[in-house]
Amino acid sequence: MNRAKASVGPLAVVGIFLAAHVVVPLIWGDVYPITSAPMFRDQPVRYCDYHIHAPGGAELPQEDWFVQRVYDGNPVGYGVGVKPPAVIEQKFGVVHQEEQVREHLLRQFARLPSPSPEFITAEQQVFGPREDGTIGEVENHLWRITRPSP
C-alpha cells in the first residue's frame, strides 16, 4: 500500500456525484442516469385483463381498443420521454366498474376508422388472491357495448 498525496479535490467531485443521486430524484424525479428506482413501488391487491370480442366471437386486437397493458412494474409515464397510450389501465391494480369500461370503449368507437363493429363484447377478468394462498381469476364480467350512432 502506498500513501497518496492527500487531496480534497477528488473527494469533493465524488461527494457532488453521490449527492446528486440523492437530491435529483427528490426534486425532479427520474432524470437518466439518475433514478429513484421506482420499479414495483406500488401495492396492487388485484389486477384486470381486458379482451374485446367482435360480434362473431373473434378477439379483436387489444391495441385498437386501448385495453392492452402498458404497465411493466414501473409507474406508467414516469421517467420516460414519450406519453404512453391512453390505455384503460393507467394505474395497475385498479378494477374499473362497468360504467367506466363502457365510457372508455365508446370513446374508442369514435376514434376507430369505420366500419367498426356494430357491437363488441368486452370481457373483464379480475385476478386476485384466493383463500388457498394462490392467485387466480376471482371475477369475470362480460358487457355488450353497441356502437354509438354517428
Binding site: R3, V13, V70, V82, T134
Partner: protein, 305 residues
C-alpha cells in the same frame, strides 16, 4: 471554552479530516480497478446491440440529461448511430489504454447518450443500465484524477507494479450501489408504506410475468406466507443498502442483495444481469481476493527468482 482549547479542538478536527483524506487516497495495485473497468466496458458494449425503438406520441417532461436537445435530434435514428459509434470508439481506446483519460469520457458520453436517447423515445423504461453508467463514470473519474501517475507508470512499463488505485474509487462505487438500492427501498416505503410487503403484490406480478418453468415462480405462487417473507427481506435489504459503506456490513448486505438479484433473475425475464454482476463485484470481498491473489503471485515469483 478558552481560546486555547478551541484552537486545540480545531487542530484535532483538521488532523482528523486530513487523516480521513489520506486514508481515502491510499493506493493499491491497479488489478481490481482494472478488472472493474474491463467488466464495465464489456457491459457498456452490450448496449450497442440493444434493439432500440422510437415510440410515437407527445413528449413528456425531461426524462434524461439530454432532454434539452431538439425533439428532431432526439428522435433521429442517426443520433443512435452516432452515440453507438462514440461508445464503441471510446471503449476500444479505453480497453487498449489509449488517449486516457479522454477515451474514458468518450465512453461515458457515448453510453449515457445512447440510453438517454432510448429513455427520451420510449414510454417504457427499465433500470438495467443506470448502475453500469454511473460506475463507468466513477472509473473515468479515477483515470482522470490520477491521470498523471497512471501515465508515468504506464510510460515506465510499471503499470501493474505501481500502486495507482485509490481507496476512494471502490468506496464511491459501494456508496453509489448502496444509494441505488436504498432509493428502491425508500420508494416502496414512501409510496406504499410498510404494508408493501403483504405477499399479494409479488404474487400478482409473478402470476403475470413469472417464468413458467422457474421453481421460484412456482414457490411464490403457491405460498403467500413465503412471498410475504421474501418481500419483507427485500424491503429491509434494499432500504439498508447504503450501510454497505461500512466494511463490517458490506459482505452481509452484498450477499443479501446478490441473493435478491438471483431470485429476481430466476423468476422474471428482466435484464438485471449487470446489476447482479457489479453488486457482487463491489459488495462481496472480490477486491480482497484479487489483492491476495496478486500478493501470493508476487511472493511466489520472488521465491522462484
Amino acid at each position: 471554552m478558552t481560546a486555547e482549547t478551541s484552537g486545540e479542538a480545531k487542530s484535532t478536527s483538521a488532523a482528523g479530516e486530513s487523516a480521513l483524506v489520506k486514508w481515502l487516497g491510499e493506493q493499491t495495485l491497479p488489478h481490481f480497478g482494472q478488472l472493474a473497468t474491463w467488466l464495465l466496458l464489456g457491459a457498456a458494449l452490450w448496449l450497442v446491440r440493444y434493439p432500440f425503438e422510437i415510440a410515437s406520441g407527445s413528449r413528456l417532461a425531461a426524462a434524461s440529461l439530454l432532454s434539452w436537445l431538439p425533439a428532431a435530434v432526439l428522435a433521429s435514428p442517426a443520433s443512435f448511430w452516432v452515440a453507438r459509434g462514440v461508445l464503441v470508439a471510446g471503449a476500444s481506446l479505453w480497453v487498449t489504454r489509449k488517449f486516457l483519460p479522454y477515451s474514458c469520457w468518450l465512453t461515458v458520453i457515448g453510453f449515457t447518450t445512447l440510453w438517454s436517447l432510448h429513455v427520451e423515445n420510449s414510454w417504457h423504461t427499465n433500470h438495467c443500465f443506470q448502475m453500469t453508467n454511473n460506475l463507468l463514470f466513477i472509473q473515468a473519474l479515477w483515470e482522470t484524477l490520477c491521470a498523471r501517475e497512471i501515465r508515468a507508470a504506464t510510460a515506465a512499463g510499471k503499470y501493474w507494479q505501481t500502486p495507482l488505485y485509490p481507496r476512494w474509487v471502490t468506496l464511491a462505487a459501494v456508496a453509489y450501489i448502496g444509494i441505488f438500492h436504498t432509493a428502491a427501498g425508500l420508494s416502496k416505503l414512501t409510496f406504499s408504506g410498510p404494508g408493501w410487503a403483504n405477499g399479494t403484490s409479488l404474487q400478482l406480478w409473478t402470476h403475470l410475468w413469472g417464468r413458467p418453468w422457474s421453481p421460484t415462480t412456482w414457490l411464490i405462487l403457491q405460498s403467500r406466507t413465503l412471498t410475504q417473507f421474501l418481500q419483507v427481506v427485500t424491503l429491509v435489504v434494499e432500504t439498508v443498502g447504503v450501510l454497505a459503506v461500512f466494511p463490517r456490513l458490506r459482505t452481509w448486505i452484498g450477499l443479501a442483495t446478490v441473493g435478491f438479484y438471483v431470485g429476481v433473475l430466476l423468476t422474471f425475464d428482466y435484464g438485471f444481469q449487470f446489476n447482479l454482476l457489479f453488486t457482487a463485484l463491489y459488495l462481496l470481498p472480490v477486491e480482497r481476493w484479487v489483492e491476495n491473489h496478486v500478493r501470493k503471485r508476487g511472493a511466489s515469483e520472488v521465491t522462484n527468482a
